[in-house]
């Protein structure tokens, strides 16, 4: 199994003087294997994004019980960079702008850091350039964009397309897409979805987190999970997404309650 989450509970660590920790993930279990695309759908505040953050190791959360195994290995004890090097990629809902760091440099440091952590040789600059040029071309990304600072001044669509480029260059085993459709018009959505679909393969898994069924018309999942109140309340095939689209979240959430 590529990813196995068992009865996971996680809280948001409160800022100083801000009262008690709030539990967001409340006993969540999920199994995802290589070659599979799973979608997690859920209403606002159901804990979808928190799940992706906890998996990627974002500071500010605390896992209080349960476990998450990645390729059979405990994921939760690892630093974010170690998780990345082992092949976990979180495509972020809001990719961060980093003024002063050129995109190309960022990508190169990221790729070579991962290779180093895995005990592989670093990629030479010409090899790296060749790799990026090829991947960028496939996504319709100009080399000029790669000279600019990370995400600075990029449109919503450009930022998401660049997240897909990172995936293509870093070649992770598991891609967690946190609302990759947010802020995209239909044309941008198609480009991003095509990019994701091109990365699908028997060795790679996807966890697609979204509000809307629309995305799943373009990235077709094998499994659909409905999440509410920090838990998966129902799982099924692709038809579940259509059912959800027809009936809305309320019906499912009430059923579960």
């Amino acid at each position: 199994m590529l990813l196995e989450v068992k009865d996971l509970r996680a809280v948001v660590r409160p800022e100083e003087d801000e009262g008690e920790a709030k539990e967001i993930i409340k006993g969540l279990s999920l199994s995802l294997d290589r070659g599979e695309v799973h979608a997690i759908m859920g209403p606002n505040g159901s804990g979808k994004s928190t799940l992706s953050h906890v998996l990627a190791g974002k500071p500010g959360y605390e896992v209080t019980s349960g476990e998450a195994l990645f390729d059979g290995e405990d994921l939760l004890g690892l630093e974010p960079e170690e998780r990345a090097a082992k092949g976990l990629f979180l495509a972020m809902q809001y990719p961060v702008e980093i003024p002063g760091v050129p995109y190309m440099q960022f990508l190169k440091v990221a790729l070579n850091s991962q290779r180093k952590l895995r005990g592989e040789d670093e990629l030479s600059t010409p090899d790296f350039m060749r790799l990026v040029r090829e991947k960028a071309q496939a996504l319709g990304i100009s080399m000029d964009m790669l000279k600019r600072p990370v995400n600075v001044g990029f449109s919503g669509g450009e930022k998401k397309r660049m997240e897909v480029l990172q995936m293509a260059v870093l070649e992770p085993k598991l891609c967690v897409l946190d609302e990759i459709d947010s802020g995209l018009d239909i044309d941008a959505l198609k480009v991003v979805a095509d990019g994701v679909n091109a990365l699908r393969g028997p060795e790679r898994g996807f966890l697609v987190i979204t509000h809307y069924q629309r995305l799943l018309n373009y990235i077709e999942p094998d499994h659909v999970h409905i999440m509410a109140n920090g838990r998966i309340i129902r799982s099924g095939g692709p038809e579940l997404a259509h059912e959800l689209e027809r009936e809305g979240y309320a019906a499912f959430v009430e059923d579960a309650a």
Partner: protein, 492 residues
């Protein structure tokens, strides 16, 4: 009142005050901020008392003079530099002026954050007959600094003395470069006068043992830059160098200055620049001394009509570095850019006083100050844009930004505008903060180890400071150093 100073930037951390200090002042605006990590509150230290003191110009002297001051007062009687005999009357004048003025105290305006009493609590008499010059000029020191990539003529001064053996001057028509000690008489084109209100500049002239004299003839676009290595070593003394550069009308020149060396001593390096009409001077300074030295650096520049001065600094060495940068516009439509990056750790203290005097109309100035502080380091910045009456179309912009990597680090910042004319666009801003957690996580989530990610963000923070350096190799050397700095690596 705020309507008269368009474009003033507030600051979410700092306080913004408007004070009418004189009848004629249209606006006097100071952002006065003291920052420590983990404490977003601002201690507005200069309150009413400070204003009162300023108004009455009360200068209270400490009863006991600092050991450094005593030594500097006593040494002059027995001090002489035979090669600079022609300078002796000026030296005597400067010394007499220093005797009257004395060293600044914590109560002296522009020195209140300088901790002079802590830094100069030992005698540092001037060095007159330096020994071991050649031993001090170690190849490792001269070859592994951040400006080594520059393709330039080199002038080396070791403990205040010109080292012919280590210098290498390439001839270029219309460019005259010589050590001060080689000038038989006072060159009539050189202005060696000190700033009368700057004790360290007075000391610098009084105790100067050498310096570089540079003249670029009118219309000559010099293709060979000059690299000046100010090397000083040893304990318990002071070294004083006085450089002068004149870029005549329509000429251009690039001057690199590296402050190098080690040991508990004082280095006092003063550079005077005159940039004539339509001329351009680029200056890049680095300080890579070890963490025991004290450095006083001064740049005094006159920038004439349609001239340009681009001044860049990367200061990462020394126990204490005081930078006094005073720029006067002497003609209209001139432009200056002064950018500094400070990378400080342990107990290093860098202290900058910057004054840009928009004395003429239609001049543009850009001042960017970026200070990164780790451990117990301290960065202080006091910058002033002064706009004289009648300085129509002045465009001045000053920013001071601190990045605190440790809770014990401290950043003090006071950007000021004094505006005596109402048709101007002036802005100043000050920010301080820690590394951005979201950016850090983004980098780590892509596989970049935490320390490396921090180093990348430190380099990104200061990167814009180096943007104006034309020589790509020099720019890259400084940028790469900024990224290595956090890992504690040296210059090599």
């Amino acid at each position: 009142m705020p309507g008269l100073v368009p474009g003033i930037q507030g600051n979410e951390h700092g306080s913004l005050r408007f004070v009418e200090s004189e009848q004629r002042t249209l606006a006097f605006v100071a952002l006065d901020c003291r920052h420590k990590a983990g404490n977003d509150g601002v201690k507005g230290k200069a309150g009413k008392n400070e204003q009162n003191r300023r108004a009455k110009k009360v200068m209270t002297r400490p009863i006991r003079k600092l050991p450094a001051e005593e030594a500097w007062r006593e040494a002059f009687a027995g001090f002489s530099v035979p090669a600079l005999a022609w300078m002796q009357p000026r030296k005597a004048e400067a010394f007499a002026r220093f005797e009257k003025l004395g060293l600044p105290t914590p109560r002296t305006e522009n020195w209140r954050w300088s901790e002079i009493h802590r830094h100069l609590n030992a005698p540092y008499p001037p060095l007159t007959r330096p020994e071991a010059v050649d031993e001090a000029a170690q190849p490792a020191l001269m070859e592994n600094h951040l400006l080594a990539a520059a393709d330039a003529s080199v002038l080396v001064f070791v403990n205040g003395v010109f080292s012919e053996a280590h210098s290498q001057l390439m001839e270029e028509e219309g460019v005259e470069i010589l050590p001060l000690s080689a000038a038989p008489v006072a060159p009539d084109w050189a202005d060696l006068a000190p700033a009368d209100d700057d004790a360290f500049d007075l000391l610098n002239l009084a105790y100067a043992t050498d310096g570089a004299l540079i003249r670029v003839r009118a219309g000559v676009e010099a293709s060979i830059p000059l690299l000046v290595l100010n090397i000083s070593t040893g304990e318990g003394h002071s070294v004083h160098l006085r450089h002068f550069v004149r870029v005549e009308a329509g000429a251009s020149f690039t001057l690199y200055e590296a402050q190098l060396g080690s040991g508990d001593h004082v280095a006092n390096v003063s550079t005077r620049a005159i940039v004539e009409e339509g001329a351009a001077l680029t200056r890049v300074q680095v300080n890579q001394k070890d963490e025991s030295t004290i450095h006083f650096g001064r740049l005094g520049a006159d920038v004439h009509a349609h001239a340009r001065l681009h001044d860049t600094a990367l200061l990462t060495g020394g126990r204490y570095h005081r930078q006094n940068t005073y720029v006067d516009f002497a003609g209209e439509h001139a432009e200056i850019v002064t950018n500094s990056a400070y990378l400080l750790r342990n107990r290093q203290h860098a202290d900058t006083r910057l004054r840009v005097n928009h004395a003429k109309a239609h001049c543009t100035s850009r001042e960017t100050f970026k200070c990164v502080m780790d451990d117990h380091a301290r960065g202080t910045f006091q910058g002033l844009i002064h706009v004289a009456p009648g300085a129509d179309g002045t465009d001045g912009r000053m920013g001071a930004h601190g990045l605190l990597l440790d809770e014990a680090a401290e950043f003090d910042s006071k950007p000021e505008l004094m505006i005596y004319h109402d048709d101007v666009a002036c802005a100043h801003g000050s920010t301080v903060g820690a590394l951005d957690e979201q950016q850090l996580f983004y980098l780590r989530a892509r596989g970049v180890p935490e320390r490396r990610a921090q180093a990348m963000l430190v380099a990104a923070f200061v990167a814009e400071v180096f943007d104006d350096i034309a020589d790509e190799r020099v720019r890259e050397a400084l940028t790469a150093y900024a990224e290595r700095w956090l890992a504690g690596e040296g210059a090599a």
